[in-house]
Symmetry: C2
Subunit: 315 residues, 2 copies
């Protein structure tokens, strides 16, 4: 994208001032893409903290008040809230406003956007970035740098809408993301594989590990460096956000979960039968895939994610 | 442990000079616990590289040659090789030698040790530490620092054996590990929970993700920051080592895998039925467990394992 300097907004309004909303506000500010940034959040304390942190210039707990005068509206709430927000925006948002979201599910978001009038331009977006932390304190301006952001434009071909899609692309590029455009259904399947299923598995493993009565809770913690601790990172993600992902991407998640369960049954049988060759062959696939992810710039090459760096581990 | 300065060995022999063997050799050297450290490896090239790196003073490809004069013998091979090595040690090792291993399974190792005469003192050990990398180049002296090392002594109560167990404890303490003693069966169940099942799940997920035909291999890599990349770390671990873990800890792994599968079926049903409350309640458990692991010093508090530190993320 070369349009970095061609976009700027009079007033951006971030609805939902958590990890992602705050990071986006900070990135917009750093790149001087919005003259003013306001926030909307149900929680007045979150707004006060975000303002104190310099994330937003001011905030409102009421959406209709909050979006007044905004030419860019960013939805960064759990996906389940998008429908009700669109209903509020339908009459409260300014003519011509560009609306983007950051949800991990795109089909349900496109469905929610059908209540919006054509004078508003909703471009569904999913920046594939985050941490396991929540709240405005967790936000940082470089969260989206070198990460992919997937846009799934609505089925509209009018010129103002096409211009809005271009602006959304330019916005993400300006804050360091790589932009990809695809249809919502493909997005929802691809992300079911690379994000939703991994989270489901991690949440499930954390629950199952703590339920083996003969192994003490303290032992699960003490010996977690054997591998378990890796899973607890994404299992520490926001429960409401993830509840909404699974409620809104049911079919794709059940499809990839079915494939995982089949593969797990194959592994289980190989263990039961003592089939060392099958196990070794299956295990050998991991290194190549990790190397490809590191080579693509989506992962650190440092052993143990570099988390033991301070202890003298080579990097 | 206060015995740090009370142990020292004339000659340590490390059988299997990979990540763990090299790290242990470097740690012994740093703490001046062995006057001389030799290596044994089937691969002469590994020995040459390890010697060049200063990990070992010299090496042999033949076990019987290699262990001559050694008063400390360290087995750091895949668990499946321990039986054959014990057979060789039965006649080649010096009277009174202390033998320790580092295997992730302890019941099978204890079984393999039954071929040893009483003049040799085998203390099964499992340092719960590692990285996803392999080979002598991956070793570093602080790998075991602040990690737990579990000892599962054999059913022997003679004084020389009890002294050997004390020496093994002192050795691990001297290189920074926390020592815990338990029986082999309990170890194998606890580690099936915190290490073996997580690895099996990670290997399986990596295989399953790459098998969804309608999602391109490149997409799995590009969008891996959504969660998938976390799993690829442990799935990049040594396939032969892990094959041997599953072949040698079958019953405990099948037991905890059964529990995981049940829990996964419950989650699957909650998704299918749209039971948001069940999902949210299950997901809410993750944060507390991760916090406990961080508080126990077994994990970094930095978001994303600190791997994005260079990009300006707060730590």
């Amino acid at each position: 994208m070369t349009e970095k300097n061609q976009i700027s907004f009079k007033r951006a309004c971030v609805i939902g001032v958590g990890l992602i909303g705050s990071s986006l506000a900070l990135a917009l500010r750093e790149q001087k893409l919005a003259a003013k940034i306001s926030g909307v959040d149900r929680d007045a304390d979150v707004l006060a903290r975000a303002q104190k942190l310099g994330v937003i210039d001011g905030g409102e707990t009421d959406i209709e008040q909050g979006v007044r005068g905004a030419d860019l509206i960013i939805l960064s709430t759990p996906v389940g809230a998008v429908g009700a927000i669109c209903e509020a925006l339908a009459h409260a948002a300014e003519d011509g406003a560009i609306i983007i979201d950051v949800g991990s599910v795109k089909g349900a978001v496109a469905q929610a956007a059908t209540t919006l009038p054509d004078r508003l331009h909703f471009v569904p977006c999913h920046p594939v970035a985050g941490t396991e932390q929540s709240g405005p304190e967790a936000g940082f301006a470089t969260l989206f740098k070198d990460r992919w952001c997937i846009l799934t434009p609505l089925a509209r071909s009018d010129a103002p809408y096409r211009a809005a899609v271009k602006s959304a692309e330019a916005l993400w590029s300006a804050i360091g993301a790589e932009v990809e455009i695809m249809d919502a259904a493909h997005h929802d399947l691809a992300l079911a594989v690379t994000s939703h299923l991994p989270h489901l598995i991690a949440f499930t493993l954390v629950g199952a590990a703590d339920d083996v009565e003969s192994v003490a809770h303290g032992e699960v913690i003490k010996y977690s460096a054997g591998g378990f601790r890796d899973f607890t990172r994404i299992a520490a993600s926001d429960p409401v956000m993830w509840r909404d992902v699974f409620l809104n991407n049911r079919d794709a998640v059940l499809e990839v979960l079915g494939r995982f369960s089949e593969e797990l049954a194959v592994m289980q049988r190989a263990i039961r039968w003592g089939d060392g060759k099958a196990l070794e062959d299956a295990f050998a696939r991991g290194r190549a895939l990790r190397r490809a992810i590191v080579d693509a710039g989506q992962e650190t090459p440092a052993p143990n994610f570099g988390r033991d760096r301070e202890s003298g581990e080579p990097v």
